[in-house]
């Protein structure tokens, strides 16, 4: 069930019996009907092993399951919300940016090193994202939070996209990312442009970029 955007900072979701939804704890703004909010002990899918995986990867986030029948409004902290509809592809996003997502999506964690090798790991450290990131795969919708508005940049094989690591929100599709450095002697003497590190995304898909360099 897709999310309906009420405004740039609030989304509405339909909850129907038998379909589960995950959302960040405390992100419900209002609801109609009979809906229950249960803190998810394991922080998502995959049972206890999934939980352990997320703990090890430092990608655990307080989630709750939303069940019942009715309409729920989500929003959090005045952050802008981007709804991403997935049809089979995989979305890579930091766990604390997840506002809500369909229970039909398959949740997992991914090692940065497996996408970009050593530079992927360096990238995780440089951007403060850590060595792991959360993946969501399948058919369904995800509501992702960002500071400031979000734009979607398409990535095509001929046109790789360079993104400031701090403004990067999420990406989906068959995308390789690597950290490109433009470190020169100017940076060494403290006269750098402040844009020494860039994220280069190439392949086929899309990347979401926020209009701010502030982390959530």
């Amino acid at each position: 069930m897709p999310f309906r955007e009420i405004n740039s900072k609030m989304v509405e979701a339909q909850v129907v019996p038998g379909q589960r939804m995950y959302s960040q704890r405390g992100a419900m703004l209002a609801y109609r009907g009979e809906v229950s909010f249960t803190p998810s002990l394991t922080g998502g899918q995959g049972g206890v092993m999934g939980m352990i995986g997320r703990r090890v990867a430092n990608e655990q986030t307080p989630l709750m399951t939303v069940e019942g029948s009715g309409t729920v409004m989500f929003g959090h902290g005045g952050h802008h919300i981007q709804v991403i509809n997935l049809s089979g592809e995989t979305l890579y996003v930091e766990a604390d940016r997840l506002l809500a997502f369909d229970g039909t999506l398959q949740q997992g964690t991914m090692f940065m090193g497996s996408q970009g090798g050593v530079m992927g790991m360096v990238r995780g450290q440089v951007t403060g994202q850590g060595l792991f990131t959360t993946t969501l795969k399948g058919h369904g919708s995800v509501a992702v939070m960002a500071h400031g508005g979000v734009i979607e940049l398409p990535i095509t094989p001929q046109r790789p996209v360079h993104v400031d690591p701090q403004a990067y929100v999420a990406h989906h599709g068959d995308v390789r990312n690597k950290l490109s450095t433009a470190l020169g002697w100017r940076d060494m003497v403290g006269r750098g442009s402040g844009e020494a590190f860039q994220l280069e995304l190439s392949g086929q898909g899309a990347v979401y970029v926020q209009a701010s360099e502030e982390k959530l």
């Binding site: 704890r25 405390g26 209002a30 249960t38 998810s40």
Partner: protein, 277 residues
């Protein structure tokens, strides 16, 4: 209740750079952009929350509430002694701009209506409205006919009851009965739930408590849960546990003087008691 969204105001900016306003082109009692509202004063008065004025043209005087000059005005349109220190009266000729923390600012027209709003979100109102403390702590009620200006984090969303709202996302409500609390601890029942509540394992969802609205009316929501620090007014104070003021919100918390009459800042009040008479 009529509502004017900030986006209806004149567009600022454009291909030629930002729009430059002067005293004549500034709108009168309308939004300049989504975050700024312009009030035109023609010898009249407006109530204004402290610190929300960002600039003004003309000659406008700002006076604290409770200086004696406004006795008549306060008697008819200000009934919130607990908030008296947060409000000033703007008076004079000119145009003043109001804004608050880059929140969205909107104006609302009440026509013989009533609307209750979170005290931190109300920026200004016309004295033709009467401001009263709601019996819900932290909320103020406006009654009468006139215009007021309120801020919200993100655009305001209007909803119809029946509805349950996170307390922090609630901006206010109009024309409907006061909300009641709704508690939902369903997941704490049963064997697993009992274990959960016993050990605290698994944490809480943060959504156990909502305000429930029923009946006819409109509920105003904001899309964020970050709030301005606010005073818990209307809570039953310690002094109200026994005696005459039992159950009266705000009783025994100071601003109510010895006679049980609200006292404005700057008044001497308990002189008799202080002198030991």
């Amino acid at each position: 209740m009529t509502y004017y969204s900030g986006t209806n105001g004149p567009a600022s900016g454009g291909p030629g750079g930002p729009t430059v306003f002067d005293p004549h082109t500034l709108p009168s009692d309308d939004n300049v952009n989504a975050y700024t509202f312009c009030v035109e004063l023609k010898g009249g008065q407006w109530f204004l929350q402290k610190g929300k004025m960002i600039s003004y043209y003309g000659s406008i005087e700002f006076n604290g509430v409770g200086n004696g000059r406004f006795d008549r005005l306060l008697r008819t349109s200000f009934h919130s002694p607990l908030h008296a220190s947060d409000w000033v009266v703007a008076e004079g000729q000119g145009k003043m701009l109001l804004a608050d923390r880059a929140f969205d600012v909107n104006s609302y027209d009440l026509d013989e209506g009533n609307l209750t709003i979170r005290s931190g979100n109300l920026l200004a109102y016309q004295p033709t409205l009467a401001l009263k403390q709601s019996i819900v702590p932290g909320f103020l009620t406006l009654i009468g006919t006139g215009k007021f200006v309120a801020a919200s984090n993100g655009p305001v969303v209007f909803m119809e009851p029946p509805l349950r709202v996170d307390p922090q996302a609630l901006v206010g409500w109009a024309d409907c009965p006061s909300p009641c609390h709704h508690y939902d601890h369903g997941y704490m029942s049963g064997v697993i739930g009992g274990l959960r509540s016993l050990t605290g394992l698994g944490g809480s969802s943060g959504e156990e408590h909502q305000f429930e609205f029923v009946g006819a009316g409109t509920v105003l929501l904001q899309s964020s849960e970050t709030l301005m620090a606010e005073q818990a007014v209307g809570a039953v104070g310690t002094g109200a546990v026994g005696g005459q003021n039992q159950g009266v919100p705000g009783a025994g918390e100071g601003p109510l003087g010895q006679l049980g009459v609200p006292r404005m800042p700057g008044q001497l009040g308990d002189l008799q008691r202080r002198l030991g008479l």
